[in-house]
């Protein structure tokens, strides 16, 4: 098989698995993020700040483990972009990343934000992030460096995709161009932060309603419009769509139904109507909300459980394929035999050789302890050869 044929073969493995058709074998996806850098013997500062090193990291990751897809290509932490303005939300150490739960909007500013999110972010949010914006010393030249950096970043991304496809026959995960993003998740992740959103939901729920609606104009509304224009499944990519959510980790059932479900349902209903496939990665546990996904057509949603038991998930949601299943704790601390036994148990227990399973890691591989290279090699070799 040449690399062009290999890309087509691997893509079909995913599409068959997602839609419960019998795949030739179980597809295997890398969900490693910064582990790739650390596991390759580099520091995070070297990997994240040097695209040549990141290219080597991705090449070595593929050469060692022979994945069908690498979900994250070194683009999650665009640290060089914010370096020009003095740094951002992430603190990059050589061996780990810390995230600051920064609020761009304080509770007393919520009305002002809601009145015009773009104006608020531009005039006040940026001041909280960057001292040079707050004291007025920011120049056109500073922002030009950011634009030039963005261009370099896009160049790297295009190049690494081409290398993987043409030199390694690695498939493309998804082809979605304009993603939706439910307003409440953006409020949680970037605008209010965990603490302020939690307080706002309890103290001023009507204001959260308004803030969600206003925030939706940034991503959700254009994303839905783009999704409605999608003609149908794209056989050139493994999934038509991808959804990652964080905010549900602090929501109870009523809050989920009020602030997240209406927007998530809009997306899922369109995917369902058009027979498009999506991965749905809800960080932490999604179990309290599984009943919401039970009525979608078989093969539309592929759940990626992070903290939930995949076997329990399959029983509750027989209409949803499962991606994941390999605990990073086991990959990091178990033996090669234990890891292979887990992979075999997943395939056999979930009936994966008849469809409905993509093997991957349960969590974004981040720390050096998230996998022992020998364990990962053992699983990779097992999964490409296992036919039951």
């Amino acid at each position: 098989m040449n690399n062009k044929e290999l890309v087509a073969y691997r893509t079909k493995l995913f599409r068959d698995a997602a839609t419960f058709k019998k795949p030739d074998r179980i597809p295997h996806m890398s969900f490693f993020v910064t582990w790739k850098i650390l596991g390759g013997g580099y520091t995070l500062n070297e990997g994240l700040r040097n695209y040549d090193i990141m290219t080597k990291v991705i090449r070595e990751h593929q050469e060692k483990y022979n994945f069908d897809v690498i979900f994250e290509l070194g683009v999650r932490n665009i640290v060089r972009l914010v370096d020009h303005l003095g740094g951002g939300t992430y603190i990059i150490r050589d061996d780990g990343i810390e995230y600051k739960d920064n609020a761009l909007v304080e509770l007393e500013e919520l009305d002002e934000y809601t009145a015009d999110p773009t104006k608020f972010i531009w005039e006040k949010g940026m001041c909280k992030k960057y001292p040079m914006w707050a004291d007025g010393t920011i120049t056109v030249a500073d922002l030009q460096k950011c634009f030039d950096e963005q261009k370099a970043f896009l160049g790297y991304y295009k190049k690494i995709q081409k290398i993987l496809k043409e030199e390694y026959g690695v498939a493309s995960f998804n082809g979605q161009v304009v993603p939706c993003y439910p307003g409440v998740d953006f409020l949680f992740n970037s605008i209010l932060g965990i603490k302020n959103l939690s307080l706002a939901m309890r103290r001023m729920p009507e204001k959260v309603d308004a803030a969600v609606k206003a925030t939706n104009e940034l991503f959700q509304v254009p994303g839905i419009a783009a999704l409605k224009r999608t003609k149908g499944p794209n056989p050139k990519v493994c999934y038509d769509y991808d959804i990652t959510l964080l905010v549900h980790t602090i929501l109870n059932g009523k809050q989920f139904d009020r602030w997240l479900w209406p927007d998530l349902k809009d997306e899922l209903d369109i995917l369902n109507e058009k027979n498009l496939t999506t991965r749905l990665f809800m960080e932490g546990s999604s179990k309290p909300f599984w009943d919401h996904f039970a009525d979608y057509k078989k093969g539309v949603i592929t759940m990626h459980p992070e903290a939930d038991d995949p076997f329990e998930m399959r029983k509750a949601l027989p209409n949803c394929a499962i991606l994941g299943g390999m605990p990073v704790e086991l990959l990091g601390r178990g033996t090669p035999q234990e890891c292979v036994e887990r992979a075999k148990a997943l395939v056999d227990g979930l009936g994966g050789l008849d469809g409905g399973l993509v093997l991957s890691q349960d969590k974004m591989g981040t720390f050096k302890t998230d996998a022992d290279p020998e364990n990962l090699k053992a699983v990779s070799e097992f999964i490409v050869n296992y036919r039951g």
């Binding site: 939300t89 773009t118 531009w122 005039e123 006040k124 007025g136 030009q144 634009f147 970037s190």
Partner: protein
């Protein structure tokens, strides 16, 4: 903020100013709508990262 006189930090004045002065991925000036969308997108990215 009251003392900050830098036009870049005001909206929408800063957007208009940056559209006039930035090289936006090599796009020509007559594509003002696209240039402004990309500038807004950059600021949003910077605010999030």
């Amino acid at each position: 903020m009251e003392d900050n006189k830098n036009v870049i930090t005001k909206y929408p004045e800063g957007l208009e100013y940056l559209n006039k002065h930035l090289n936006v991925l090599g796009l020509p000036k007559f594509l003002g709508g696209l240039r402004k969308r990309l500038i807004k997108s950059l600021i949003l990215t910077l605010a999030r990262q």
